[in-house]
């Protein structure tokens, strides 16, 4: 089997569950060495990455930090850069969901959502892009959401944070392109992750009705597109938002 990311090194955030976990597996299966970032250590996580690195014959280094704690984030970056390895790929995946009507959304919650879904990704991207600029190549992938494009009731804050990451993607692509760095974004539709439990059955069924393929997305569906965007298959693709939503 041809491994699409053979000899590449990737930084992945939000690896302990959902889309991050599925992508971690796909990237490892495709030959990437990975700095697997998660908020805190757990036996399950350690066991998973150990098994994965053995089966796939790749290196996986766990990196633990809270994205909203910038001094920890900086330490994490130091760990990565002090390895003196190339960083070919950065996947900004970690995030939180938040459902509340616009009139009911508190300022403190707005700040928290943007802190995790937006600011921390940009800070991490600044550090990692500096490494990529030096090596004059790299692929940055930001996980956004269809809610960041369409706007949905109850998603004003979450959707706005995901819209912000789309705009950042395009500006980063424009600024970093000349250094050989590609920046793209994925906008998943309704995906089978823990975030789904925050949606009512009624909303899920209504959305499915409007989805051409009539099924929910899987974390692997999103991971496959991340794999494509991380690989050289997408070498002429930058500044794009790819909807992986089954046709909404």
């Amino acid at each position: 089997m041809v491994r699409l990311l053979q000899n590449k090194n990737a930084v992945l955030t939000g690896c302990s569950q959902g889309i991050g976990k599925a992508t971690l597996k796909l990237f490892a299966e495709n030959g990437a060495n990975i700095w697997a970032c998660a908020r805190k250590p757990s036996d399950d996580f350690e066991k998973m990455i150990h098994e994965l690195s053995e089966t796939c014959a790749v290196e996986i280094w766990p990196v633990y930090f809270d994205l909203t704690n910038y001094s920890d984030l900086k330490e994490a970056v130091k760990t990565i850069s002090s390895s003196k390895r190339r960083v070919d790929i950065l996947l900004n995946n970690a995030g939180i969901t938040y459902n509340a009507l616009f009139m009911m959304s508190s300022l403190s919650m707005m700040r928290e959502v943007f802190e995790i879904n937006f600011f921390s990704h940009l800070v991490l991207s600044q550090y990692i892009a500096k490494i990529m600029m030096r090596q004059r190549s790299g692929s940055i992938i930001n996980i956004s959401s269809s809610a960041g494009i369409d706007g949905n009731p109850g998603r004003s804050v979450y959707g706005a944070s995901k819209a912000a990451i789309i705009c950042a993607t395009k500006s980063m692509a424009a600024e970093l392109g000349e250094f050989g760095i590609r920046v793209n974004s994925i906008a998943p539709g309704i995906t089978h992750t823990r975030m789904l439990s925050s949606m009512t059955e009624k909303v899920i069924n209504e959305t499915l009705e409007n989805t051409a393929l009539k099924r929910l997305g899987t974390p692997e569906d999103i991971g496959h597109t991340a794999l494509f965007l991380a690989s050289d298959m997408s070498s002429y693709l930058t500044g794009q938002v790819i909807r992986v939503d089954g046709g909404m």
């Binding site: 089997m1 041809v2 692509a173 424009a174 970093l176 392109g177 000349e178 050989g180 590609r182 539709g189 051409a212 393929l213 009539k214 997305g217 899987t218 569906d221 999103i222 496959h224 597109t225 794999l227 494509f228 050289d232 298959m233 997408s234 070498s235 002429y236 693709l237 930058t238 500044g239 794009q240 790819i242 909807r243 992986v244 939503d245 089954g246 046709g247």
Partner: protein, 247 residues
Amino acid sequence: MLLQGKNAVITGCLKGIGRSTLGVFTREGANVWACCQCSDPSLESYISDLSYQHNVWIKPIYFDLCDHTQIKNAANEIHKNKNQIDILVNIAGMTDDSLFHMTSMDKMKLVFEINFFSPMLFTQYISKYMIRQKFGVIINISSISAIDGNPGQFSYTSSKAAMLGATKTLAKELSGFGIRVNALAPGVIQTEMIEGMPDDIFESFMRKSDLKHAGKPEEVAEVIAFLSSDLASYITGQIIRVDGGIG
């Protein structure tokens, strides 16, 4: 290999993006009906090299997109052996450089015939087989100029924009049969189509482009391979720009 054991119909295989797509698809293990307007010795030797190298079959299919009888016969020829048709890539097309007021009605009709009506007629035939087998992927090649507009390319951009509307509607109509439909909008790609592009226009595109260089036909072909593969099984009704970041 991403397309191992799949069978694909590719139009416009003689040169440019079509020829590269033929190369990438066979490398990824697909068998191909390679469609182009007329037989060509260089294409035939390319085909025999590829099929030997990658251990796949490639059948040349010749038809003129202006001739509806030939289109029908080609579809019949493809279906003759009852092989599953997994993928259809509509690449064949023509360019036309003329200002809006200088474009004759005859020219508009010809451009739409080649870039829109004929590919859609061909797609009707091929998708009928896909509907029966309840599986398929259709990829239409449009252009960024169909989204952004481009002065001096009135008929070309309009015909390519029609392709985008068709893509979205087909995605919705055919999804119930397990058929995904997507479009690609390439930017400035090193093919014969841009050979006539004046230097100043080329330079202005490169200034606008994030990656500051023109794309290679293979880079477009790789994206077509991704969308055709099962890696993209949850992507439908989308238009993907492959333009190095323009606009």
